[in-house]
Amino acid sequence: MAQKTYAGKTVDVNEEGYFTNPSQWTKEIAAEIAKEEGIVLTDQHYAIIEFLRNRHNSGEALSIRSINHSGVIDVKTFYQLFPGAPLKKATKIAGIPKPASCI
């Protein structure tokens, strides 16, 4: 188990940098992880991060498709906010596990 320090706090992460304990997350930490990914967080970013965290907490699976149903933003905007691999980046910044699509 690895650890990383963000915004002066030490957090537990896995080998890919995803939080193993989502309760250690704060908004300030999110901003620092985002910086590593080259992203400056706006209110829109935080809105979708909150959606992802809530969904994770309620035990529901996350997928790109579910973003369209979030009522927060559509998938195209999601890609603009987190370029490249939005779900992977957004979940990392949101301090929740990388979505493992179930098979």
Partner: protein, 410 residues
């Protein structure tokens, strides 16, 4: 008399009906199956159709011959479930009251949810093989196709039988090689996942198999639209993959009745407890098979393992006892890899597919995460098992709980 109503007479619903009829006293309980379709397809056979290995007749039987004697069968579509009233309205205007409801409505492809997918090229150069019509249209197309860019694309998860797209890809490699035009067919596997498969060990193994067979892979690709004019698929971020023939595994949804009745998640899958298979909203509603939102594979073997535990929970519920039987997410899939070989994977919610032997250590006879001929014969044998054992809810010598016997861990 009390009514146990099963909506859906597919793999899961039929197997459950056959199981439950043995346990429910016939003087107290009536089993009613609601199923509109008259034909029952051996769905794993859809994979073989495009390559001419099976014909439609070889994978089709009348649905009614598999329903248990003593159950009532209603050939009609459900209009809506009124869960607050324990009532189902049918499209013919009749309604049915239930004491216990079992939802087995499965999943379906919804190509109409992706812009351009069901456009002018649909069933001309864009095909699915998850429906009998799609698989047959593709078979006709392949007969005369002379080659080009063959793209196999999964729009997004969840999909039914998550290994089928890979099997299709391996078969395509063999098919065009035997036809002598493999060098004219560029095969590209385009997936929303970060590798060939979801779980790490299986993904690594299958990824190297793709490479060995000279199949390109494009990962992290979530299908946004299909450009019919320029024959390209685009992801939401604007990445493009050109095709001459697109084999699509479209988005999947639950039965529209589920959403209409307020029982589902945003994709129309019934929200259920992943261990007890009971609806999260209504205690007298249970769900089995592809219709649920469980984080398990949507596959026949899963429905079979679920049936093993679900009949116990339904009996407990009827007797006002706590639901003790627990589904562990067990899944077991043969994966055809072409040239008469196959691999086998066996896993559950917690344990990823591991190498080893199955079901017995040392003796096997099936090898896990390794190509072998006997795995391929296992797959072929499965057709017989499906019609004669699985649908009839009979016992198979594989426990519903996944076992670590024979598996090799790190």
């Amino acid at each position: 008399m009390k009514n146990l109503v099963i909506i859906g007479g597919g793999t899961a619903g039929t197997a459950m009906a056959n199981k439950l009829i043995k346990y429910l006293p016939s003087d107290k309980w009536k089993i009613i199956i609601i199923e509109k379709a008259k034909e029952h397809f051996y769905q794993p056979g859809f994979l073989f159709l495009p390559f001419g290995y099976y014909t439609r007749d070889q994978i089709t039987k009348p649905a009614k011959i598999f329903f248990p004697k003593g159950a009532d069968v209603i050939n009609c579509e459900v209009d809506r479930i009124y869960a607050d009233k324990n009532l189902i309205s049918l499209k013919d205007g009749n309604s049915i009251a239930y004491d216990v409801l079992l939802i087995a409505t499965g999943t379906r492809i919804s190509p109409e949810d992706t812009p351009g997918l069901k456009g002018e090229l649909w069933q001309k150069s864009v095909f699915d093989f998850y429906t009998i019509e799609g698989a047959e249209a593709l078979a006709r197309f392949f007969k005369t196709w002379e080659g080009g860019n063959l793209v196999i694309n999964i729009a997004d998860n969840p999909i039914k039988c998550p290994v089928a797209p890979l099997e299709f890809t391996f078969y395509a490699d063999e098919f065009f090689t035997r036809k002598g035009i493999r060098e004219k067919v560029k095969i590209t596997y385009v997936t929303p996942m970060s590798g060939a498969f979801t779980k790490p060990k299986a993904s690594k193994f299958l990824g190297s198999l793709l490479e060995k067979k000279n199949i390109n892979i494009v990962t992290d690709f979530f299908l946004g639209e299909v450009d019919n004019t320029n024959k390209k698929i685009l992801d939401f971020g604007g990445r493009e993959v050109p095709f001459d023939c697109l084999v699509t595994i479209p988005l999947h949804s639950g039965d529209p009745v589920i959403s209409k009745s307020g029982l589902g998640d945003e994709f129309g899958f019934v929200k259920a407890n992943k261990n007890t298979l009971q609806s999260v909203s209504y205690q007298n509603i249970f769900v089995i098979g592809d219709a649920s939102n469980l984080p398990a594979s949507k596959a026949g073997s899963v429905a079979h393992f679920q049936a093993d535990i679900l009949h116990k929970n339904i009996l407990s519920f009827i007797n006002n006892e706590p639901l003790k039987a627990s589904f562990d997410g067990h899944s077991n899939c043969y994966i055809e890899t072409g040239y008469g070989k196959g691999i086998l994977i066996d896993f559950n919610y917690e344990t990823e597919p591991l190498p080893g032997l199955f079901p017995l250590p040392v003796l096997g006879p099936f090898s896990l995460l390794k190509e072998s001929r006997i795995n391929h014969y296992g797959k072929l044998l499965f057709k017989w098992i499906y019609w004669n054992i699985l649908l009839k809810g009979r016992w198979l010598p594989i426990p519903s709980k996944m076992s670590m016997k024979g598996k090799i861990t790190d």
